[in-house]
């Protein structure tokens, strides 16, 4: 055992001047399009068009073009929905909870994590809409005073989802935009041409960086962080209720809310790491996105991964303990040995075995290992939702109604289409908005200088 004191890597390497930081962090906005970037943009744009096509095909032809059947009426659609919405949670966790916990290392990664949240929630929102079959009636989910007296069914989890997800999106968007305002003003002031000065100027809302502006800004930011915090927990608790309020074995389990929240943060941090490592490389940001950021994300992966592991253990144990035939069958037979059971085994490997390498500091600070682990966790968390939904439904109470599920090309197209669309939006974001919060990094720097020298710079 190595008992040398482990020195945590710094959150910021070097103490560059404000001027130098502005230049470095705004540089990606002004540089020309490289060939690789254009290629990436093109590939994801084609994928996005393919998503549009597959979604259009679904709407025109109906849900029958998906692999869904009875009893597997929920399959890829809801799996993807839960997967995407879970990914969003890390962004909110970083921006809100870590802010309230006074964790400084959040500063450099909060902006793009929040953007990730927004784009992930956008993908998630597509699936319930498409699954309605007739998405033009989606507004029926809103409890507006309808003259037809059609009212949402409050005992169904669908209106809860609509409320939870739309609140989540709205608050996340406001939070993200509010945090952007000082940086948009920097962009306005540095923009090389008039058109961009005007455009960024409009979005900067007249920010002058005065003490009064900052005072209001801080207040609003703190309040929104407070509002976001319960959302980190509530949204995925509601999503978990989609399953847990049913009586189906494999769905109905009281541990679902905290287990889903932990799983959401787990998958979200996996996505943060998946995005963080390439960004760090391509834009040469090793001084702002340090090993400390990688390591802390890795530690959170380990913690949340263990909560998920814990939930698996309890579910399997209590399924046996309950003595309930159906509970036992679903867990010990359908999940471990039924049709498509390989997905669950893959989930177990990706979510429970693979993250254990993160006990090692070498793994936590190695870009290559961490990236592989994060991608595998992304796969594992998708598999987890697929297992919960499909493997439980395939084998419900009546053997006569058992049916096996298999996805169609439309299912796969929509899944990969959303991944493309997500990446496309993310690439545009990297191009047009400062993805490392300038003002916050500068503030962090002056705090660090203040601590080191004992006086304000």
């Amino acid at each position: 055992m190595n008992l040398e004191p482990a020195i945590a890597a710094p959150v910021l390497i070097g103490r560059p001047s404000d001027e130098a930081l502005t230049t470095q962090l705004l540089e990606p906005m002004w540089r020309g399009y490289t060939r690789r970037f254009v290629l990436a943009l093109l590939v994801t744009a084609v994928g996005t068009l393919w998503l549009l096509f597959a979604a259009g095909y679904t709407v025109v032809r109906g849900i029958g073009v998906w692999g869904n059947n009875i009893p597997v009426a929920w399959a890829f659609g809801i799996t993807n929905f839960v997967w995407w919405i879970g990914i969003g949670h890390a962004g909110t966790f970083i921006s809100a909870i870590l802010l309230l916990l006074e964790q400084r290392w959040r500063t450099s990664i909060n902006r793009f994590a929040e953007a990730m949240t927004l784009f992930a929630v956008m993908q998630a929102g597509l699936f319930p809409l498409l699954h309605l079959g007739r998405p033009w009636f989606a507004y029926w989910l809103i409890p507006y005073p309808a003259t037809m007296r059609v009212w949402p069914q409050w005992k169904s989890a669908l209106p809860w989802d609509a409320a939870a997800v739309s609140t989540y999106f709205t608050v996340s968007l406001l939070f993200w935009y509010l945090g952007l305002i000082p940086d948009l003003a920097s962009l306005r002031d540095r923009a090389p041409d008039r058109a961009r000065r005007i455009l960024y100027g409009i979005f900067a809302l007249g920010w002058r960086g005065s003490a009064r502006h900052y005072r209001h800004y801080r207040l609003a930011y703190g309040l929104l962080a407070g509002l976001c915090t319960p959302l980190v927990v509530s949204v995925h608790s509601i999503v978990s209720s989609d399953f847990a309020i049913a009586q189906l074995p494999g769905w109905h389990s009281t541990i679902f809310p905290p287990y889903f929240v932990a799983g959401a943060i787990f998958s979200g941090f996996a996505m943060v790491v998946t995005l963080l490592i390439p960004i760090r490389r391509f834009f040469h940001l090793e001084n702002v996105l340090t090993k400390r950021h990688l390591e802390n994300c890795a530690k959170l992966l380990l913690v949340t991964g263990w909560i998920v592991f814990y939930a698996y253990i309890l579910e399997f144990f209590l399924a046996w303990y309950s003595g309930d035939t159906y509970e036992q069958y679903t867990h010990w037979h359908a999940l471990l040995g039924g049709p498509n059971a390989w997905v669950f085994w893959l989930t177990l490997v990706c979510n429970c075995v693979v993250p254990q390498v993160l006990w090692s500091q070498t793994a936590r600070t190695s870009e290559a290992i961490l990236l592989v682990v994060a991608i595998l966790i992304n796969v594992g968390m998708w598999g987890e939702r697929f297992s919960i939904i499909v493997l439980s439904l395939q084998r419900d109470f009546l053997t006569s109604s058992w049916r096996i599920y298999g996805p169609t090309w439309v299912d796969w197209s929509i899944l990969f289409g959303t991944i493309s669309f997500f990446s496309f939006l993310f690439l545009l974001f990297l191009r047009f908005v400062p993805f490392i919060p300038l003002s916050e990094v500068k503030e962090l720097k002056s705090e660090l200088v203040h601590e080191e020298t004992g006086h304000h710079p």
């Binding site: 608790s237 541990i255 814990y310």
Partner: protein
């Protein structure tokens, strides 16, 4: 101002009083044992599970603090370690439960059960049987004691022979010990509390027991800090430290409310007979007022009181609230135990009072004993200066 790097000489009065309370509790427990052994043991279990949950909550907090290498809690680590140091006591306190388990747990008497339950108990026998139950209890207590005692010993060793190795060792043990702690705590809650109603189960149960215990552990920590401050110690612990503790109290009030609500809600809405039996007893009999009192007292009131900014920085307020929270947490544990053994209606007997006074009194006495004679600050901790200077607005 009193130097806190010298051994602490207080807490003797607390030790004396706590021992008196424990003696009174022992007398009450003995009397109730003669009247009704099953009920007496249930009362004892309530006091035991209450004290234990608080100590385990403190242990979890200490381990999380070590794992995160958090700064500010270094200033309040010694009282926390004194709470955790009481763990060996529970290896003694469990003995009456192991001796009396036949009177306490229905799964020990399958012949008395109805046919349906008898079938279930036959299924559960590989897990719910006397021998395995005792073996598991030994494993849980070994794990907890190993974690708690080593962490405390290493911290005290750093006072005598300062070395960064002690702290690093504590950090490694804490990080690696958290998964075993979570699992042992959960299964202990299943064994000792959930199996009182052996047909019922809830995957959330471990979280529920932990949430209440963590809240209790933090409340006790606040009491300890305010207590030694009133004697003129730990003067450097200021309003920012209280603010941090107050925020944690608020967090765990919300966490408990969240867990309690969702466990109830999911069972209520799915309405499966095997699960609802638990809440039927607690909501449709004269247990109902206690259930409502819990929702208001363990969640609504402390939530609203802790929400504003100022109270969280006020030691006097936190002191009062912590006493209230510990009382509510006892009610919570009582609510877990007593309705299962007394399903016909509300019951609070001398047995409950005796168990509470005996277990709680002994724990408090040992806590005072451990606090006495040691410095109140880990004087050689490299983070100590920054921990004392911690500021949060």
């Amino acid at each position: 101002m009193i130097a806190d790097d010298a051994p602490y000489r207080g807490a003797l009065r607390l030790r004396r009083r706590a021992l008196l309370v424990a003696a009174g509790g022992a007398a009450l427990f003995a009397i109730s044992l003669f009247r009704d052994p099953g009920r007496a043991l249930a009362g004892y279990l309530g006091g035991f599970a209450w004290s234990l949950s608080i100590v385990l909550g403190a242990l979890a907090f200490l381990m999380i603090v070590h794992t995160m290498a958090a700064t500010w809690p270094v200033a309040i680590r010694r009282p926390l370690e004194a709470i955790v140091g009481t763990l060996p006591l529970f290896a003694l306190l469990i003995i009456p439960l192991l001796i009396g388990m036949k009177a306490l747990y229905p799964w020990m008497r399958p012949e008395a059960a109805d046919e349906h339950l008898r079938h279930l108990l036959a299924h559960k026998r590989p897990y719910l049987n006397g021998g395995f139950f005792v073996a598991r209890a030994i494993v849980y207590l070994l794990v907890w004691n190993a974690l708690g005692l080593l962490l405390r010993r290493w911290s005290l060793a750093d006072d005598e022979s300062p070395s960064p190795g002690w702290k690093l060792r504590s950090r490694l043990l804490s990080a690696g010990g958290l998964p075993p702690l979570g699992l042992t705590l959960t299964f202990a809650a299943f064994d000792w509390l959930m199996s009182l109603q052996p047909s019922w189960y809830s995957t959330m149960y471990g979280f529920y027991y932990f949430a209440g215990g963590a809240l209790g552990g933090l409340a006790l920590l606040v009491l300890a800090i305010v207590g030694v401050q009133r004697e003129g110690h730990l003067v450097a612990v200021g309003s920012s430290h209280y603010y941090a503790l107050g925020r944690l109290l608020l967090t765990f009030v919300i966490f408990w409310g969240y867990i309690a609500f969702f466990q109830f809600f999911l069972i209520w809405i799915a309405d499966k007979p095997a699960e609802t039996s638990y809440y039927l007893v607690r909501l449709r009999t004269s247990w109902r007022p206690e259930t409502i009192a819990l929702a208001i007292g363990q969640f609504a009131i402390p939530f609203l009181l802790l929400l504003p900014y100022e109270p969280k920085r006020n030691p006097r307020f936190l002191w009062r609230l912590s006493i209230f929270l510990l009382v509510m947490h006892y009610l919570d544990v009582h609510w877990l135990v007593a309705p299962s053994v007394h399903p016909s209606g509300f019951s609070f007997s001398t047995a409950d009072l005796g168990g509470l006074a005996l277990c709680g009194g002994l724990t408090a006495a040992l806590f005072a004993h451990l606090l006495h004679g040691r410095p109140l600050l880990p004087r050689n901790d490299p983070q100590l200066a920054r921990a004392l200077a911690y500021e949060s607005r």
